[in-house]
């Protein structure tokens, strides 16, 4: 039994140490947990070379049709190809108003997807802060457990209880770490979608 705890302690230490936030690559964003560089927001110019947006940047919210389409094509569950078709269909139906409709649609997608991206990134940083607290807790519990084990005679009930708690803390920590790694891909996925949809709009306006 004691051997098992010792292993757990070793593992907890390894985890806690390997996850030191010191490895944050960019000193501007100490809470950013991903290997991918943090780009806080996408600029319009990175995805749009079409006509200047002007008032469209604010007006898209007032147009129910644009709103509905933005919601539909922004959703990642709709395959990109289908989303591009929706856009092409909508804009060719707009006929004379094509340029305006295209600008409104782009403005809507830009705001919506940028906001989605920001919320995912905030979530990642929040989890990173929690992880740091968890690592601290694992570290102090490990030290406490060691002290309990070294006491003569050791209080076996307390050792078991704290040991058990440490195992759980470590497991939660590890699970979160796996999820974070997966979620780190999401901002890029959103970038890709915004770029592809913007390109589809611009092709229609050309």
């Amino acid at each position: 039994m004691i051997t098992a705890w010792r292993i757990a302690i070793g593992a907890a230490f390894a985890v806690a140490l390997s996850n030191q936030p010191a490895r944050a690559a960019d000193p501007r964003y100490p809470d950013w947990p991903c290997a991918q560089a943090k780009v806080p927001e996408i600029s319009v110019a990175a995805v749009w070379a079409g006509p200047p947006l002007g008032d469209a940047a604010n007006q898209w919210k007032d147009d129910p049709k644009i709103n509905a389409l933005v919601t539909k094509v922004a959703a990642r569950r709709l395959p990109l190809e289908d989303a591009e078709k929706e856009i092409a269909g909508f804009l060719s139906a707009a006929a004379a108003n094509k340029a305006t409709a295209g600008k409104l649609l782009f403005a809507g997608l830009f705001d919506t997807l940028n906001a989605q991206r920001a919320s995912v990134m905030n979530g990642l940083e929040r989890v990173m802060r929690k992880q740091r607290e968890a690592a601290e807790k694992i570290r102090s519990d490990t030290v406490a457990l060691q002290a309990l084990q070294d006491a003569t005679p050791p209080d076996q009930a307390k050792v078991d209880e704290l040991g058990n708690q440490l195992v759980w803390e470590t497991r939660i920590f590890e699970d979160r770490r796996r999820v974070v790694k997966f979620v780190c891909e999401v901002p890029t996925t959103i970038d890709q979608r915004l770029f592809a949809l913007s390109r589809a709009i611009q092709q229609e306006l050309d």
Partner: protein
């Protein structure tokens, strides 16, 4: 008689209809560990070839029979037979080959090995390694002068373009450029050498005889932060009149006047545009977009993007069959 006329007419019509330009492009997908083959008639991917780990530098042999692809994580260069579109052999590079170049005759290949600071020299007829050249730390961009006498090697650590005499294999000159030089290209007449600097955000124009920087191209895109503009790949038309520079995460290719070195316009292509190649008739320029996982086709005369082709994961290099 009528029939014959009709037949003759048919032939003429068919001849006129037959595409003058059926080209084949090979694209290395760095993360997908594949090479995508694109047909220029349909602009579609006709085959995906599984290759080694981390394929980047890719080039056709001058006779069009083979495509070489540097697979850095496997420490070798694979040889693809373009008839069967299968891997048939490997070339002896050093560790972690990233990029390579061949001389005008297609006899000698020079490989930049990222990990051991050397350039490996390979004889293409025998596929044997015939020597190594010690260069600066982390060799990156490579180019051979049109007369084959000088090999250019850019180094990220020294921020220099090193001029290497291909006969003696010794460095004969060093030219300081901006931060992280990535790619080097000669004008076809040998009058200018262009070197892109990824972090510096510029392209340096170098006089290859005097070994001096004679001009610099700067890029400005309204609404984009300067650090998002990262020049990498360069393509120049044979007459040296027009050049294209890939600007990485700016998602644009700059069209540059080859004589005045002024930027004419910016074309929005795909995300993180990296390398490029012309079709042999120079009607089209194909560029790889690493993040959007596609290739953009640019109409060179119209200076316009006409098509986007989805390829594998993280497309890096591209080469188009000579004709």
């Amino acid at each position: 008689m009528w029939r014959r006329c009709l037949l003759a007419g048919m032939f003429a019509w068919l001849a006129a209809m037959a595409p003058a330009s059926a080209f084949v492009a090979y694209v290395s997908n760095e993360k997908g560990n594949t090479v995508s083959v694109i047909d220029s008639d349909s602009w579609t991917v006709t085959k995906t070839i599984k290759v080694g780990q981390r394929p980047r530098g890719i080039e056709f042999s001058r006779d069009g029979k083979f495509v070489w692809v540097a697979v850095g994580d496997d420490d070798t260069i694979q040889v693809i037979d373009t008839k069967t579109q299968e891997i048939v052999d490997t070339l002896p590079s050093g560790p972690d080959p990233e990029l390579f170049t061949q001389d005008a005759a297609g006899k000698t290949m020079y490989v930049a090995n990222e990990n051991d600071n050397t350039v490996t020299v390979i004889d293409l007829a025998t596929r044997a390694r015939v020597g190594d050249i010690q260069v600066g730390v982390e060799p990156e961009g490579m180019a051979v002068s049109p007369d084959g006498k000088i090999l250019i090697n850019t180094s990220e650590t020294t921020n220099m373009a090193h001029f290497i005499d291909t006969a003696t294999r010794k460095i004969v000159a060093n030219v300081l450029v901006d931060s992280r030089p990535r790619f080097a290209a000669f004008k076809r007449d040998g009058s200018e050498l262009w070197v892109s600097s990824e972090i510096g955000g510029t392209v340096s124009i170098i006089d290859p005889v005097k070994h001096e920087v004679t001009g610099k191209i700067n890029f400005e895109i309204p609404g984009l932060r300067s650090e998002a503009i990262q020049p990498v790949g360069i393509g120049m038309t044979r007459d040296g009149k027009t050049a294209f520079v890939a600007l990485g995460p700016a998602n644009r290719v700059a069209v540059v006047d080859g004589a005045t070195h002024k930027v004419i316009k910016y074309l929005l292509v795909g995300q993180r545009v990296w390398h490029m190649d012309f079709t042999p008739d120079e009607k089209y320029l194909l560029v790889t977009n690493g993040v959007s996982n596609d290739v953009s086709v640019i109409d060179v005369a119209a200076q316009k993007v006409i098509k986007t082709i989805q390829v594998g994961e993280l497309p890096w290099g591209i080469t188009i069959a000579p004709q």
